[in-house]
Amino acid sequence: MSGEPLLSVDNLSIEFSTERGVVRAVDNVSFDVRAGETLGIVGESGCGKTVTGLSLLRLIPSPPGRIVSGSIRLRGKDLVALPERDMRAIRGRDISMIFQEPMTALNPVFTVGNQMAEVLRRHKGLSRRQALAGAIDMLHRVGLPDPARRVKEYPHQLSGGMRQRVMIGMALSCGPQILVADEPTTALDVTTQAQVMEQIVALQKEFDMAVILITHDLGVVAESCQRALVMYCGRVVEDAPVKSLFATPHHPYTSGLLRSVARIRPDRVASLPVIPGMVPDLANLPDGCRFRERCDNAVARCAGETPVLDAAPVGEGVVACFNPDNAASGEPLS
């Protein structure tokens, strides 16, 4: 936890124009990523985690989306201000992304080898033959069986797990410093998920890259990340090392999520604890803290003021809450 961050996101806000007016999907989000670290971004649908991930590669569809303020600095260089031409050189070479559904992310009319070779030819200027050899080598490294045969096949001929390996291979082929993985295993079965996550972790060590893992699955975060951001309605509500986040969550939303998730337990419980109510509509958000209507800890101040991330520094992390849980004990239980 020392040295210059590799990537530094500062007060990032992103808006979308919709039929119902302008919606702010990401609101004043700030975080740092250090070289080699795995950062989780967790939250429920609509919390802004995917939009945040896309913005790091400037992949927000525009219109309707727009980065309205803030900066994204990669080794000091602000990506928000960069011309599209320069950004194209960064995508795939410095920052890569893999998506939830590899079937929609891969082009169905080109062979696997063709698509992978394109990345290598564009960024590294390799010849057709060199690029194909590079693609086969990469597929071998991501654990795809029989890569020499697979490069000649089309995406529909592969299983879901194999497609995700191809995506990972493609994303890593130029040795990026940062991999943004948006729900990389959500569409996969649990046994395949285990295979793919192990592969990502192994490759991360091999390539010494940072991984930003966007997921709704708290189990995946617990097993794979060192640090995690919890997002709710476009804002980061808690940012802490994973061990202390799971042992002593401070934001009432984080603790609510951790309590309500169904997990394999030694004995059955009659009913699961729940977070009452539902996520508010982004076009019609409450003032102040956006979680306050579902929160047991809410105090008068929550309605009038917006809590910011260091509103109450507790433990090893930061939390955006005026009345956090476990305020007295900052030490993780583990």
Binding site: E44, A194, K243, S260, I264, S271, L272, V279, S334
Partner: protein, 340 residues
């Protein structure tokens, strides 16, 4: 194998009275067409000889990976897919042999909750119309009694009466799933197939809907077949759990036994693969190699032998028999050469 299974069933019926639902050697094959004249060139063996029973008021959880046949099995029980072979007995009556009229009649007792609350509700009908439809179809009560019943059902699933005249697109996923549950409850069924009912929902909403299903089961004594790929959710809701692989049940036991002492190598691998929300846990994981084979050409012998970490020669040649390895704690059926 068939004979031994039938013997066991006979023994079971002597010991206890008939279960609410009994499934005997259920098979569902889908034809694969191909070639010049679109002739049948093979079969996808989606469900390949499955037997189990569910007692009144109990939940059987059914787990397995995509393509293992769990959804097909659930649909075949309600004859939404016509079974290829086998029997489904409801209170001792074989419902696979009923004619169309009697099947409609029987569907009062058997209902279904679907995975996708976005696709399973008609966008052109109000919530009131959707919940009322089963009452209209089966001609239950007078129109005013039906209206009263719809209001009562809304209350049961925790929706306000104001939603009656609203359309599905105005609701969140969790609210839609409540509407789907209310519709399934309209005819007072004794058995509900719930196919991945919470998989499309966010964590905080998932627990609300799971609790609702649990309450309904306790209050109304409804039996459930709860189909899910999520082992944590299944453990929470089920009394017994069946594990499916390539169209077959490879293990079936009480929820406690499956989770505390799984016997089949596939069950063990599945359980070890579930990521737990606990960073201090040291994961000792059995990572399975490869993918699930195609159900159109399943491997010979044990269907799991191609991925099994402990497979031996016999596994590649012979289909293992299903045996009961349970002790005093109750039945624990497993289909694996290690235990036969």
């Amino acid at each position: 194998m068939l004979q031994s299974r039938q013997r066991r069933f006979r023994r079971a019926t002597v010991v206890s009275e008939a279960p609410l639902l009994e499934v005997r050697d259920l098979v569902k094959h889908f034809p694969v067409r191909g070639g010049l004249f679109r002739g049948i060139v093979g079969h996808v063996r989606a469900v390949d000889g499955v037997s189990f029973h569910i007692e009144a008021g109990q939940t059987l959880g059914l787990v397995g990976e995509s393509g293992c046949g769990k959804s097909t099995l659930g649909r075949a029980l309600l004859r939404l897919h016509e079974p290829t072979a086998g029997q489904v007995l409801l209170n001792g009556e074989d419902i696979t042999a009923l004619d169309a009229g009697a099947t409609t009649e029987r569907r009062r007792d058997l209902q279904m909750i679907f995975q996708d609350p976005y696709a399973s509700l008609s966008p052109r009908r109000t919530v009131g119309q959707t919940i009322r439809e089963p009452l209209d179809v089966h001609g239950i009560g007078t129109p005013s009694e039906r209206d009263a019943r719809v209001r009562e059902l809304l209350d049961v699933v925790g929706l306000r009466p104001q939603v009656l005249t609203r359309y599905p697109h105005e609701f969140s996923g969790g609210q839609r799933q409540r509407v789907g549950i209310a519709r399934a409850l309209a005819l007072n069924p004794c058995f509900i197939v719930a196919d991945e009912p919470v998989s499309a929902l966010d964590v905080s909403v998932q627990s609300q809907v799971l609790n609702l299903i649990g309450e309904l089961q306790r209050d109304k004594g409804i039996a459930f077949l709860f189909i899910s790929h999520d082992l944590a959710v299944v453990q929470h809701i089920s009394h017994a759990v069946g594990v499916m692989y390539l169209g077959r049940l490879v293990e079936l036991a009480s929820s406690e036994d499956i989770y505390s002492s799984p016997k089949h190598p596939y069950t063990q691998a599945l359980l070890s693969a579930v990521p737990q929300p606990d960073p201090t846990r040291v994961a000792s994981r059995t990572v399975l190699e490869g993918d699930v084979p195609s159900a159109a050409s399943p491997p010979p012998g044990c269907p799991f032998h191609t991925r099994c970490p402990v497979a031996t020669d016999i596994c590649r040649e012979q289909v293992p028999e299903t045996v009961d390895v349970g002790g005093a704690g109750g039945e624990h059926l497993v289909s694996c050469h290690l235990h036969s």
